[in-house]
Each structure stands twice: as C-alpha cells, then as structure tokens.
C-alpha cells in the first residue's frame, strides 16, 4: 500500500488559475523524493494537500490507504499524527522551551510524562541539542532551530516526513547537516518528501526528483541507486 497516492488532483484558489492540473503522485513506503519547481509552481500547495491543510478542487487524495475526501473529519487527526512536517520558517512556539516544543506531539496524544521526558531527551541529543533543553527558540541559531523543528516533526515517529524548503533559512553548511539528518531518518524507514529549490542539494544527495511545472508533476530524474 503506498504511503501517498494522489490521483487526478486539481487545485485552484477561488476563481484563479489552476495550481495543480490533474496531478498523480505515488510515494511508496521508505522512499525519499525531492520536490522541485520554480517559485509559485505550487510546491507548497501540493505539500499542503499532503499534510491536510487544504482539500483539492478535484481528484482523490489517499494517505496510508485512507481516502481523505470521504474520511469523517473527526478521524483526520489520526492521519495527521502519522505525518511530520518541517517548515522553512521553523514554526516553533516561541514561548515554549526546546524540550516543550519537541514534547508537544507526544503530549497531544496523551503519552505518559516519564516517557515524554525520556524520548525528548534522547532525540534532542541525537540532533545535537542535548545541552539546550530549556533554551527558548529565540536564543538558538537558524540551524539549531531547524534541527529543533525536525526533532518535533519526528518525535512521534511519523510514517511520512514532509519538509517545505527546510534549508531556506539556514546557511549552506547547516543545510548539508540538516539534509544528513533527513537521510538518517530515511534510513530508519521514514518516507521523506522534501520541497526545495536548492539544486546543489538535490544533486549532492541524488534522491529521485519530482518536478512541478505548469501544474503538472513529472519525475525529473532517477539517481543511479534509484
């Protein structure tokens, strides 16, 4: 069963032009893809469909075998909990410490606090923020904040990790470090989809590239290991 299965998806905002025109996309379990395209091509909109912040104008969206269009709204939180999302602007909660930011997805589902403590400490150490548990996001560098955001996105062990321009707000060296994190997560079995316009990263890491242009999604290239 594919993790993501979009079929004939169309998306339009109001009476504007179609952002997505009959998009088909299948992501199998454990795959890693880059999503590329020029600014305004619709990458963020496509990702928005996948992490359920919007509905398509037409077509079907199936995640983990669940037809999102027909699934009752009260069951969608269960689908969302299987998806981790990383944003370019981090979207960390400024009033919460690093620890509490990362703990949030676990607390939402009612995880026991001792388990929360253990898991969060371990993960923050893994992303290199073990010494910054009580730090507020504003006291961290861009790279550190993004690592914190990645930790929050994966603490609940999601089946699908989506990142929308995760390296857009950090320097090149931080960008490479972040990508290596994503690679590690992928090796652990997470399905990863990263939207980026950073061609250097795409070429450096060589994962399959899905290119969005004029509302149409195409598989741009496969690396040798593909």
């Amino acid at each position: 069963m594919p993790v993501v299965d979009l079929s004939g998806v169309r998306l339009r905002y109001g009476n504007g032009p179609e952002i997505l025109r009959g998009t088909d996309l299948v992501l199998t379990r454990g795959s890693f893809h880059f999503l590329t395209g020029s600014s305004g091509a619709g990458k963020s909109s496509l990702l928005g469909l996948l992490y359920l912040t919007m509905h398509p104008t037409a077509g079907a969206v199936r995640l983990f075998g669940v037809d999102i269009g027909t699934e009752p709204r009260r069951r969608l939180p269960d689908v969302r909990r299987r998806i981790g999302v990383v944003f370019q602007d981090f979207r960390l909660l400024a009033h919460l410490s690093a620890f509490d930011n990362v703990a949030l997805p676990l607390r939402i589902v009612g995880t026991r606090e001792d388990q929360v403590r253990a898991n969060v400490r371990e993960l923050l150490a893994w992303v290199g923020l073990g010494d910054h548990l009580q730090a507020l996001p504003s006291t961290l560098s861009g790279g550190q904040q993004q690592r914190l955001a990645i930790a929050r996105a994966v603490i609940a062990q999601p089946d699908l990790l989506i990142a929308d321009e995760p390296t857009g707000s950090v320097d090149d060296s931080s960008a490479y470090r972040l990508m290596r994190l994503f690679d590690e997560l992928h090796k652990m079995g997470t399905t990863v989809l990263i939207a980026t316009h950073n061609r250097a990263l795409v070429q450096a890491f060589g994962h399959p590239e899905l290119h969005l242009e004029d509302g149409v999604l195409k598989l741009a290239s496969m690396n040798e290991h593909g």
Binding site: L52, M54, R74, P77, R81, L104, P105, I108
Partner: protein, 268 residues
C-alpha cells in the same frame, strides 16, 4: 458582571422570601375595626362583646383586641412616641386568627358583627395584599430580567474574549491542528483559561456584592422602624450567592468550548 448578577439575584431572593412571609403573615388573619362610640366605656363593652362572639365562631382560632398601648406602638412611626392615642378618634382593632383550612363565611360574620356593634367591619387584607403581591412580583420579574440580561452579556463577553484569544493564538492553533490535535484537545486549552477567568472574576464580583449587601443591611438596620422591615438573606440564600462564581466559571468554560469547537469546524 458577576457583581451585578449577585445584586440582582439577591434582590430577587429577598423579594421572593419577603413575599412569602407577607402572604404567610396575612393569610389566615382578619382584622375587625370597631368605630369609637360617644363614651369610651361603650366602645370597650362593644369590643368585649365582639371578642366573645368571635371566639365562639366556628373556624376562629383566636381573637384578641389590641390594647391602647399596642395601638400607640403601631402608630408611633407616624404619630411619634408622645402622641396621646387614647384621645384620638381611632377605631379599636380586634386581631382574629382563623384555623388553618377552616372555611369561614366572612360576609355572614361581618353582618353579625355589624349587628353587635353598628359600623364595625371586617378587613381580610386581601385587597391590600393583592396589590402588594402584584407590585412585589413586578419587582421580582424585573430582577429576573436583569439577571437574565447580565447573564447574556456575560456569555457574549466570554464568546468575544475567546474569539480574540483564538485570533491571537491562531498560529499555535494551526500548528496543534497540523500535529493531529483533536478539536477537543484544542478546545480544552481555551476552556481551562475561561474556567480560571470565570472563577477569579466571579469571586471578586461576589465579594464586592457581599460587601454592598452587608452595607445596605447595616444602613437599613439603622432606620429602626417597623415601616420598612429589614429584609435579610437567609443562610441558604447566601449559599446561592456563594455558588455564583462556580456557575459563572462553568458557563464561561462551556461558552469558550462551544465557541472554539464551532470555529475549529471551519478548518479542514
């Protein structure tokens, strides 16, 4: 808001208990008025004969003529302590208490009384009581309407405060929603705040109302006159006021929860 609600509630409760007391005090009692005759001795004899007759009337539990001293005490608020009531052409009064549940034909008794002492009449207070009850009920209804309006304003206030907080925290809400928080989980964050806000405001409001009511009570007691009986809240009624913060908090909590759930339904 709670301060106003507490005052309105206190007014409604006081009116209700006063009304109940007036009705209890006056029902089952009638007053016989005996006009003064030329000689006071003649008046005394007529009164004595009427009392004797009334005590023998079926359905009458007790009949007692008011003494001059008692009459003077009743008239003191109007005439002063030094007035010589005996020298005034005042009717003599006989206080009659009827047996509970007894059916007494007052018109027949009135006719007999008039035979014994021409000009004597029975007053069953019903006309006066009916007017008093009507007036008190109108005040009570006004109090209930005020209480209802204050409650409605409270609900609307909580609703707008909640909407404002949701707007301020919209990015947090969007993030929680994205992470898979249920609508109920998000609503609980707001209803917790509303509960604390309602409890805190409720306690302050009730405390202020209690101070105001106690001050009014003291001021009324200083009047020291039977014209205006001092209404006092019973222990149970004070308890009802004390429960107001909890009611306020629960209403705030439920209003916040409902507001948040309705707003969240607009999210995909």
């Amino acid at each position: 808001m709670v301060f106003l609600a507490a005052l309105a509630l206190a007014a409604v409760m006081l009116l209700g208990s006063s009304l109940h007391r007036w009705q209890a005090d006056l029902s089952g009692t009638v007053t016989v008025q005996v006009p003064p005759l030329k000689e006071s001795a003649q008046t005394d004899a007529a009164v004595a004969e009427l009392v004797k007759f009334l005590r023998l009337t079926p359905g009458v539990e007790a009949a007692q003529a008011l003494t001059q001293d008692r009459l003077a005490a009743l008239l003191a608020p109007w005439l002063g302590e030094t007035a010589e009531v005996g020298e005034l052409p005042m009717p003599r009064l006989i206080d009659v208490r009827l047996r509970t549940g007894a059916l007494v034909d007052l018109s027949a008794v009135g006719a007999k009384i008039a035979d014994i002492a021409p000009g004597a009449v029975i007053d069953d207070h019903q006309v006066w009581l009916a007017r008093l009850v009507r007036y008190a009920r109108a005040l009570e209804t006004t109090g209930i309407v005020v209480l209802g309006l204050v409650s409605a304003v409270w609900v609307v206030t909580v609703l707008f405060v909640t909407l404002t907080r949701m707007s301020i925290h919209r990015t947090v809400i969007a993030l929680l929603h994205l992470m898979g928080a249920t609508d109920g989980y998000i609503a609980r964050q707001f209803q917790r705040h509303a509960l604390i806000f309602g409890l805190g405001g409720g306690f302050i409001g009730v405390l202020m109302a209690a101070v105001a009511l106690l001050a009014l009570d003291q001021a009324a007691a200083d009047l020291a006159t039977p014209i205006l009986p001092v209404p006092r809240l019973s222990l149970g009624q004070w308890g009802a006021l004390a429960a107001l913060p909890i009611v306020t908090a629960v209403v705030a909590m439920l209003t916040a929860r409902l507001t948040v759930l309705v707003q969240l339904k607009r999210m995909p």
